[in-house]
Subunit: 341 residues, 2 copies
Amino acid sequence: MITAKALASELGVSIATISRALNGKPGVSPELREKILNEAAERNTYISPAARMLATSRSQNICFAVHHLPGPFNTDPFYFQVLLGLEEEIRKAGLNLTLETIPEEAIANPENWRIVREKRADGIILIGPFIPASFILKLHSIGVPVVLIDNFLERVPVDAVVADDRRGAREVAEHIISLGHSKVAILSGPEDWYSNAERVSGFKDAFKKAGIAEPIVYNADDTTFATGKALFEIASKKKATAYLAVNDAMAMGAMDAANGLGIYIPKDVSITGFDDIDSAANWTVPLTTVQVQKKFIGQAAGRLLWARIDDKIAPRQRVDVGTKLMIRSSTGPIKALKEKK
Amino acid sequence: MITAKALASELGVSIATISRALNGKPGVSPELREKILNEAAERNTYISPAARMLATSRSQNICFAVHHLPGPFNTDPFYFQVLLGLEEEIRKAGLNLTLETIPEEAIANPENWRIVREKRADGIILIGPFIPASFILKLHSIGVPVVLIDNFLERVPVDAVVADDRRGAREVAEHIISLGHSKVAILSGPEDWYSNAERVSGFKDAFKKAGIAEPIVYNADDTTFATGKALFEIASKKKATAYLAVNDAMAMGAMDAANGLGIYIPKDVSITGFDDIDSAANWTVPLTTVQVQKKFIGQAAGRLLWARIDDKIAPRQRVDVGTKLMIRSSTGPIKALKEKK
DNA sequence: AAATCAAAAGTAAGCGTTTACGTACTTTTT
DNA sequence: AAAAAGTACGTAAACGCTTACTTTTGATTT
């Protein structure tokens, strides 16, 4: 546990040489380099992050920021899985991860946000649809490297990592169609949430392509279990035979409502989710859903941000992470209602 | 957005005086101090964390560390709530939060853990029962300030914040007893997890005090939904009328199993959980459980750690955060089985 | 009025790196 | 064989703070 400086005097070399050797920079003979590297490992040598930061004005830190409203995290394990994937990636790269909630005051003035003002992070990852576009734009325009997750701004060239929502949505919808359902309802959250909108579009695409009447869309202000439950209670009055929810939490809420109403799944109606959160497979009736590779999203975001910081990439990047249809027990072929029982 | 140094030259004062003023240290006249503070606010002055860190060897950073196994987080929203409480507290104190998973190599050699070696954090918060005691002990013995959450070591004087598990457990158990149940089963996780053991003890205490035969304990290797489900399927053969689960996830699993077995809640059996995670209240049958103030635990841990870092506290501290019995619909008075239907 | 003391402000060393530049030495080119 | 070009390493400035120590200033005591 000694500093590079101490190593230098122990070895009788200049600190400059140590720095070059430890950082893999040219200007050190192979023999000396090896000697230094060996001794460094031996003595458990480390480079003071503070000193390096001061000298290079790079913090080696990545910031993961959530909107200060605790909402999304409380209800959605999705983001946390992403966070874990990111942590892994970040650590592999020798960086650090700091977690921040964006304080209210910072929304209007990003340059007043401590992490920005003090340059505590080399880049920021912004997750979720809750973050105001104006804030993202400002952050971007003052030169802070930013990567968005589960969000996308058409008009501002900010990098983003999203699930391939549209495609995934089309696939579940096609699955439902192939089971013979034609009277279908969509359980949706706010229309202006990027991934929510994409998913709804994807659902509709499938029906358009199949030449079937578009499903009715039920919108709500959020995408929680409770909302899914409430929405199903309303929607079920119209006697659709299948319900496409924009995420698993809502689908589960819907199933719970169905249970309460004496509607059987998948005998009476089919229900699908999106995300494939952990509990989806273990649910009373295992949920047919679209698997999103959460960890992978986190990893991709980490790599993207790092490349952006190093200015190693072209204009604006957008990564679409593939999805996978998971057919389980909450969907089944349609039966005319009279056949029931 | 200027540094303290720049402020100094703008104001024609020495950087030392700026430092004293900005840090609220004595040695500056009230008038000058006010002038500096005003100007600092005006010009959006900041102190370079790198420079400060280098000069003081304090990082102003708190590390929140989870065992590298992603397990607990995937299944348990509990920890994440704690994390949010902590973030809030940390930010209020002007500190930063970094998130780490403890890498495998660090378990045996904490001093090789990057965050320790490079002193990237002034203190570490360790959450969960998964972290080996030997690791905690080593960390503590090399002088790293540590606070445990949801864990406690009898023999090592490390600070800890825990829910008042025993008391909370006693209370639900008393509730169950008051409803007339005497044939009761406990659905438990590993016996060597601190909070698990405390809860089980709490349950038993209540029965002992009431002079009723102790419940049978069913142990499993983890405390997930799936495990709760599996455990109930086994346990229910013995026809207990009430089931005390050590956390909500297990209780929900048990309820799901009951549902599958045609056992009605609370008509046929009563089931209780522990933690009061968000979904508990929204469950098909709202769950009677013990509310644990997760955010508060995070806050308490933050405060405790900060006090420890500043050496402002006595020997070993242990904070027991109060709990609250939430009686909902999953528990009801006992009925002889024959009365059923 | 001289001596003493306290408070306010400045000076400068130090924290541990990185990196532009300089120097010594070796190799290549002509 | 001299000049040019590389290579390996060292020197020192810079990064922006904190803090022990010194100097200056002004008030208090005698």
